[in-house]
Symmetry: C2
Amino acid sequence: MTKINSNYLKLQGSYLFAHIAKQINAFLAKNPNADIIRLGIGDVTLPITKTVLDAMHSAVDEMGKKESFRGYGPEQGYDFLINTIIENDYTPRSIQFSKEEVFVSDGAKCDVGNIQELFSTDSIVAICDPVYPVYLDSNVMAGRTGEIKDNGYFDKIVYLPTNKENGFSPSLPDTNVNLIYLCSPNNPTGTALTKEELKKWIDYATKNKAIILYDAAYREYITDETLPKSIYEVEGAKKVAIEFNSFSKTAGFTGVRCAYTVVPKELEAYTDKGELYSVNKLWNRRQTTKFNGVPYIVQKAAEAVYSPQGKKETKELIEYYMTNAKIITDGLTNAGYEVYGGVNAPYIWWKLPAGIKSIDFLDILLEKCHVVGTPGSGFGPEGEGYFRLTAFGDRDRTIEAVKRITSTKFV
Amino acid sequence: MTKINSNYLKLQGSYLFAHIAKQINAFLAKNPNADIIRLGIGDVTLPITKTVLDAMHSAVDEMGKKESFRGYGPEQGYDFLINTIIENDYTPRSIQFSKEEVFVSDGAKCDVGNIQELFSTDSIVAICDPVYPVYLDSNVMAGRTGEIKDNGYFDKIVYLPTNKENGFSPSLPDTNVNLIYLCSPNNPTGTALTKEELKKWIDYATKNKAIILYDAAYREYITDETLPKSIYEVEGAKKVAIEFNSFSKTAGFTGVRCAYTVVPKELEAYTDKGELYSVNKLWNRRQTTKFNGVPYIVQKAAEAVYSPQGKKETKELIEYYMTNAKIITDGLTNAGYEVYGGVNAPYIWWKLPAGIKSIDFLDILLEKCHVVGTPGSGFGPEGEGYFRLTAFGDRDRTIEAVKRITSTKFV
């Protein structure tokens, strides 16, 4: 008798975004002509830029000639891309990495979901609340949690409240934890951690022999130059942190699929016998066994993002979205709403009028404004009473959405 | 104190192909001018065909225009590709699937490695010996094995000897097993299972409530028309089997990255309470949580493989490689060697002269012929005394390799 991994049964019904899609479809079925504006899922809308397209066309041509055809590449990624990443994302910040420390993949979601495999199933996991659901879900699936309780919290998980009261910067846990997921700029609150705040976490991890899983997928949206774009800008991080990065939001690669993860050679964890073991070696083994690398064409596309013209185009993409963020933030603020984020992140974290549940507001906003957003409670219990809007929409549609919202009475 | 997943420590040193690469590099360092012919790793060498290239160029152009740009797609794959797969690979064989039963991914290696996550860690795993190492390694990592024993076998794994004595068709296990990995055509032995043999396994799985994980990545190399290309050609398979397929070897996609896995809705396994649960639902949850879909460009490329012209080109690729297979098989046979495979698979399974260990033969063949192959023992203890050659090389180089081998005395 084959038994399933019963941890899957602990998961909540369906993945947040799938649930939202279902709600929208139900609304559309009833209102087929509704002019819906989607500020829900954090998906980019501007096309891939010219420099990147040229690189892809050229790579496709290479694949068509015997002498330049590429079959299996290194699972970890081609040197040309890894070296380009190091030279552009780390060297200018005085951070040194060898090419064996950077792993190219098809998405930060995959790496963030798979990374927990490297660690013992009895590891104590700390996650911010609210936060991107994959950190929690992947650990539920692996059996690092108990059942979900009536209050919406999973047993055994250490939740780090990230709210208005602490300025959306989580406090250190008062118990000992092993794996700490940090996301900065945070999805969904839009808050980026300072160097001092990161230092606090690095010190905690160092002292408690914990490991920080640092999701920096939105780092290129940081506009405040005093804020770190990499956790490795802070001393001591190499010994305690893994960093996840992505081209999805930076260069509009959500449909192109490329990301990279840094696992420093200095990072170690303990065997059952209490001996130190290289986490870099574990990830390399995981990736070479269960992954076969990113398409050559896609890696050439990612390389092009770092060319002088590629950087210029990418900067324009980000500025476009951040102008949207300002339009939403200003619009809602001027209408008397309390909003957070939107300055160093493409997410606007909207405090709902008292008494409205965020899951209900999904329907209310759809019905009254034909605008889609994401209920805060989908990111964790502490997200209740909030709503996430994204800046990834079209300019005119974003302006229109703000107009609709600010001219509507919700209470 | 963060502890690692100590199951990783049970794994053998490095992944087989990484080890071989190291040996070759050591040889090359000593013999920098050696004219090496690589018949080791099963990687294709012919370029992507015109129809597929055209589809990729056109998809790249779509990504460059706002109105046709694609961001996140469905994690399971686009309908256009899923429907094309069903219409071409299953409908003509009178097998019906709905689109929710086919999952597009970036590689059969990933799916084959990840599928075990859906099942209880105390599942008893049966694997053919010898076979593609990922089945075993992914289960070692998940803790379904004990330590490796002196004889090269992992404790708790049920090995199914696949050898000359049983015609490379494994016998049923005499104990009860839960997960059965079958690979047909088999990598490395090159043997394809008949419908009768598959029926035997389906009956076993049905009776014992086991699940068959059927790797059909090489199915397009089957030339004997009486042999099944899909396990679902045999009645009862939908209730007990998952099938893995790939465009890697069919259409030369090893560097393009696309595959698909079929998880029938009829397939169920048991919860801890003994209730039946949909495995399709589990895989859907796994993929939506930890995977973000295949690049749009790659899915358009895969779709083009099924166009009339795409099919014609793909057939030519396969015929080219299978002619190589015949050249190797005939050459070695005429030289008095015992060889298997090469008729319904791109692999030739070469029985080495008595007394030569396959890992030693890697060096011998390199030294004497400057030809690279894969030691049989790398695929399991039962592979000892065998050597795998692949038909994926260039025609002239394959002829040259056979000439070198057949004109050399190894004992």
